[in-house]
Point group: C2
Chain length 268, copies 2
């Protein structure tokens, strides 16, 4: 605690503009809340980037002892926002043969705010073109894009401080990557959890299901794309207990508060 004596009230403010989530420090708890409720907190390119940025911010804030992750609205996270991808694909199709001037038309797209040069693996047009069913799929291009999302999700896994995730409503597809990369889960009895896109797109990118529930149960889920509710997830061994809704909203803060006291190192 010696070094904490130099902490002042005039904490520098990070210069940031968040578009997919909110951040709040509440006592010893840093609350990261996915905040795209109108799209089921659907994942865009910005989301994993902002997540990693905020995890680093919480890690470096000596006031913070635990990170609380949750979602605003009806559920935790519905996975990747496929509407944004579909719109980019539509623009890519309409611009075919019309030259570079069409590229400017995507200015309104939220994906366009990602700092990435045109033609890079993060360019929405490149991503859309690589998901055109009539064309050849380039796995390297896909890896270059998706690896950056995985790094964002895994910032939770590699965080210096414990991460408690509250799962309510739906937690499916890419949303499970964030939940399963967290340390502790508070899960509602009636939450829907699973990875249906395994039926068409293969295994989850962060590959932590097996780490949580072992290879056999993981295969049962991912070979079928079935979803579990909170009670089934407990029976699966994924979590110690589920909780009736809406008490997940009250249990999560209590668990965070206990963790924030327990997980206090000498220097933080």
């Amino acid at each position: 605690m010696r070094r904490c004596s130099v902490v002042t009230a005039s904490t520098r403010k990070a210069v940031e503009k968040l578009s997919t989530m909110t951040y709040e420090v509440d006592g010893r708890i840093a609350r990261i809340t996915l905040d795209r409720p109108e799209r089921g907190n659907g994942i865009t390119f910005e989301m994993p980037r902002e997540l990693a940025h905020l995890v680093e911010r919480a890690d470096l804030d000596p006031r913070v002892h635990v990170i609380a992750l949750s979602g605003n609205g009806k559920g935790f996270c519905g996975g990747y926002d496929l509407r944004a991808s579909a719109e980019a694909l539509g623009r890519a199709a309409s611009s075919a043969g019309q030259g570079a001037s069409e590229v400017g038309a995507r200015g309104a797209d939220e994906l366009a705010s990602v700092v990435a040069p045109d033609g890079s693996a993060l360019d929405p047009l490149v991503v859309a073109a690589n998901h055109d069913p009539s064309a050849v799929w380039d796995p390297v291009c896909d890896y270059q894009m998706m690896a950056r999302n995985v790094r964002g999700f895994m910032s939770l896994f590699h965080a210096d401080k414990p991460v408690v995730c509250k799962v309510h409503g739906f937690c499916v597809a890419g949303g499970t990557d964030m939940a399963l990369c967290s340390d502790l889960l508070i899960i509602a009895d009636d939450a829907k959890i699973g990875y249906p896109p395994a039926r068409v797109w293969g295994v989850p990118t962060t590959a932590v299901w097996s780490f949580r529930i072992g290879p056999e149960k993981t295969k049962r889920l991912l070979f079928t794309g079935d979803c579990l509710d909170g009670r089934e997830a407990v029976a699966c061994g994924a979590w110690p207990a589920s909780t009736p809704p809406p008490s997940s909203s009250t249990r999560a803060p209590k668990r965070c508060s206990r963790a924030s006291r327990a997980c206090r190192s000498t220097s933080w």
Copy 2:
């Protein structure tokens, strides 16, 4: 190459302000040049952060096929800038007992521009206090700080594209972390390479010496802190050949140019 067809001339400009290095795209080569010649390109907190940022920028630029790393001035890199650390320690000592108002005095320090809350492991006063020989050293606090430098250096190791590093003059201490995390080295016969701080501070943080020249030769170097010149490094098996100065300045671009043609994937 299909996806590259959407590249336009109006490449988005990344918003950035560099303080420790320069960046230039020259044909297929992205040149990252350490640029603190007045301090022997000494490493500050900003340097590994800016390095990782620029490696990501080069990775995402479809024009770039290879990254060329070098140093401006008399040598490649002389390691961590200990003067900056000493100055922070001096301020920490002078502010002891004077309250929080003293903290503002460090505003002019280049380290203060790092976005990190007061009291974090990146706070110059925290770092200085943890290097006070009369106080207890906290290894966790040190890890929290140094791990972020290591991530910056290792961005070269994990880069999507090949990294060619030109070593001239001196490449010692923390400077070797960047050189050894690169893929290919162009090294001058008379360059001085080694890790003298092993005598007092232990092993290099990126731990890639053994990966390059094997455990026995690594121990010979790090148990003694001895330096090698370019010819000795070749004899050590670290590099295929050294080159007489100043031809390293002409050989490096040639090697980069050849690598930029060879390392071209279908999608980049």
